[in-house]
């Protein structure tokens, strides 16, 4: 299926190469991500991240052209994700798969990539179990344990003794809840109440009442980005919780794509997360410079950088093993690099990314824009939660 390109390149490549499959080739990467529907933002962010990576690092790896082929998964739709994966592998002849915003979509391709030995790079889907389901999954994104547990430890260190946990009643929410609770209780803190809120809810006043009634030092929240996080932060302010001395702790609630909509209500919210575009490093600066050059209107966020790093992982796998799936996976284990989010490594055991987690506060920057300003770093956090009995 792969077509031979330049004869000259073939000759030189053959002369040079010892590593597997050394033609000058088009190496295809199939990306399955939502580009339509309510979650289309993810697809846009992924594309921006990949574009930026290719603009900086070129479209070729050792003479092979890397081509990304996009397929729309819509929302959570495992049937469609699976049939896209089949089609990408057998018709397009892709050697790598990537993307996946939602856990079920990723899990649905586990058996396929096992059978076809296709390394698959998860750009977002954040449930710990994913990398266990197939040895061909690599995940340079994050898990909720990874960010919520360090936040709990940090919060306890700040003198927060009693918290209420309020999460959306679905698996990522439960992951965040468990991660936070485990770490917080281990540190000696007390969880006064745990509230699991219906996923579809956007009126949070009653939950805020519950939080108030419990009278904690802080409330830790996790909700899916979008209307729920917006309404939650609004309700937190409207119900006078800041005045009652209840600090809001979160993870992705102050995501850059909803931050402006939140407005001043978000000021002073503390979150723990693995990336803020406000991150101060030359790598991030270079990344953002190229990104805004390509897409002046883009609002980069965690998923942009996850896709950017995902592209890096793919490039490195191609560099090391060409199209040999099992070898590529071996090669990626233990891979280290400096990402725009900071120094990172692929954990050889879990094939998940080990990364810094930053404690941030929402502030207005010099231009008056709302940003997540990092002020404390918890270094080299691995995926902490591989199992979760709900």
């Amino acid at each position: 299926m792969r077509r031979l390109t330049k004869e000259l390149a073939l000759a030189t490549a053959a002369a040079l190469a010892l590593a597997g499959g050394a033609w000058a080739d088009v190496i295809k990467v199939g990306v399955i991500a939502p580009t339509s529907g309510p979650y289309a933002t993810y697809g846009t962010q992924f594309r921006t991240g990949v574009d930026t990576y290719q603009a900086i690092h070129g479209h070729e790896v050792d003479g092979d052209t890397v081509e990304f082929i996009w397929r729309d998964s819509g929302g959570v739709n495992p049937d469609q994700a699976r049939s896209h994966a089949q089609e990408l592998i057998i018709r397009e002849g892709v050697d790598y798969l990537a993307g996946f915003t939602f856990t079920p979509n990723a899990l649905a391709v586990a058996q396929i990539i096992d059978q076809s030995q296709t390394p698959t790079v998860i750009f977002n889907a954040a449930t710990s179990i994913i990398t266990e389901e197939s040895g061909f999954f690599v995940r340079p994104s994050f898990t909720l344990w990874q960010v919520s547990a360090p936040l709990a430890e940090w919060a306890h260190g700040q003198g927060i003794e009693e918290v209420v946990i309020a999460v959306s009643d679905y698996n990522p929410g439960i992951d965040a809840e468990t991660g936070f609770r485990t770490a917080f209780e281990a540190a000696g803190g007390t969880v006064l109440d745990t509230i699991r809120m219906p996923l579809a809810t956007t009126d949070f006043a009653p939950f805020m009442q519950r939080v108030r009634d419990a009278g904690p030092d802080a409330v830790f929240a996790f909700l899916p980005a979008g209307p729920p996080t917006f309404a939650f932060v609004k309700a937190y302010n409207d119900n006078g919780l800041p005045g009652a001395g209840v600090q809001l702790l979160g993870t992705g609630e102050t995501d850059e794509t909803t931050l402006e909509a939140l407005g001043d209500a978000a000021l002073g919210v503390y979150t723990a997360y693995h990336y803020s575009p406000d991150h101060d490093s030359p790598e991030n600066e270079a990344f953002l410079a190229k990104l805004f050059e390509l897409h002046p209107d883009a609002v980069p966020n965690f998923s942009t950088v996850q896709a950017y790093d995902g592209a890096h992982v793919i490039y490195e796998m191609i560099r090391a093993a060409g199209t040999d799936g099992p070898a590529a996976i071996e090669a990626v284990k233990g891979l280290e690099w400096i990402s725009p989010r900071g120094p990172v490594q692929i954990d050889p055991e879990t094939r998940h990314i080990t990364q810094n987690v930053y404690i941030r506060e929402v502030v207005r920057d010099e231009d008056g824009q709302l940003v997540n300003r990092e002020f404390e770093t918890i270094e080299a956090v691995p995926d902490l939660g591989l199992v979760n009995d709900y």
Partner: protein, 327 residues
């Protein structure tokens, strides 16, 4: 034609020869597609499963004239039943299908006891509410269903012990195609049976059905139950082929899209469901590929065009359109 001797036919076989033309065409097309599009078997399987699902709605809506927006309740229940059976009891595909059918029929029967008393908006809302409750139950039953991560760990045995589910989806495709043809034949028998005739009677005039001594409510519950069994089969097929079940099987969109596809093809005709699903999913597939951001325009316009320019009663599209499609 008007002589009374020729009006009395001898006892007819269940499935008469010429009446199988459509099934033969669908089978031939199904086989042809396998060879024409060997790379799209996953997508094609999804179309075939959707046809089974829409056929189940056709029985309720197209024949009995009961408009609901909650058919996904039975589809989802069937999917979870098949998945759970595969994980905990037996990985035999056929037993999984049976489990899906029984579970779908069961939930249809129980909810039908409430639903089939209602009409109009109330019925629509009730049917939506049932699917929502089931979705929330599946979400809460995380240890069993995997919640929002999906029900994983489904590994099916080879079909009849002979054909392994392969990652290209060949075995899956033949399996789904076979089940679809069987479902079509089953429904063909049902709609031509006294039960099918009474369903059409109920659609035409429930009052009159009562006046000729039919317990309309129970008849509807029974029809809804059968349809639920078929929807359960569709869900089971999806669970087995994808090897994963997610909460989204209960989504409202799922029920609504099935309705759109059915009316697009023509409700009250079995092949209408086939044509409607094929056209809708193809349009969606192409439109989503061409302009993923704006394809909803096309779908919306398509729906309106069907409703406005092919003025149809409850029986769905007039022969004109299906004739056009049939070519």
């Amino acid at each position: 034609m008007s002589s009374s001797a020729s009006d009395v036919a001898p006892r007819r076989p269940l499935l008469a020869g010429r009446g199988l033309l459509w099934e033969a065409v669908i089978l031939a097309v199904g086989v042809g597609l396998f060879f024409l599009f060997p790379y799209d078997l996953g997508f094609l399987s999804r179309i075939l499963i959707m046809i089974v699902f829409v056929l189940s709605l056709d029985l309720v809506l197209g024949y009995a004239g009961v408009a609901t927006l909650g058919q996904a309740a039975m589809y989802g229940t069937g999917a979870y039943a098949a998945g759970l059976i595969a994980i905990h009891v037996t990985a035999s595909p056929l037993l999984g299908l049976a489990a899906g059918a029984v579970a779908g029929a069961g939930i249809a029967f129980v909810s039908g006891l409430v639903l089939m008393r209602a009409h109009g908006l109330t019925l629509l809302m009730l049917s939506i509410a049932v699917a929502q409750v089931l979705q929330e139950v599946a979400n809460k039953a995380r240890p069993l269903t995997g919640g929002a991560d999906g029900l994983r760990g489904i590994r099916m045995d080879p079909i009849l012990g002979l054909w392994e589910f392969d990652f290209i989806g060949r075995a899956g495709y033949w399996y789904v195609l076979t089940v679809l043809i069987l479902v079509l034949l089953f429904l063909k028998v049902v709609v031509n049976s006294p039960l099918g005739l009474s369903a059409r009677g109920i659609q035409e005039s429930p009052e009159r059905m009562r006046a000729i001594g039919t317990p309309v409510y129970w008849r509807l519950v029974w029809i809804y139950t059968i349809a639920g069994g078929i929807a359960g089969v569709a869900g089971a097929l999806a669970a087995q082929v994808t090897a994963l079940v997610s909460l989204e099987v209960f989504n409202f969109d799922h029920s609504a899209e099935a309705l759109i596809m059915l009316v697009l093809g023509g409700a009250g005709r079995l092949y209408g469901a086939v044509v409607g699903v094929a056209i809708f999913m193809l349009v969606e597939h192409v439109a989503a590929a061409v302009d993923p951001f704006n394809w909803l325009f096309l779908i919306g316009a398509l729906v309106l065009a069907v409703v406005f320019f092919v003025p149809a009663g409850l029986l769905g599209l007039p022969k004109a359109l299906t004739g056009l499609v049939r070519r």
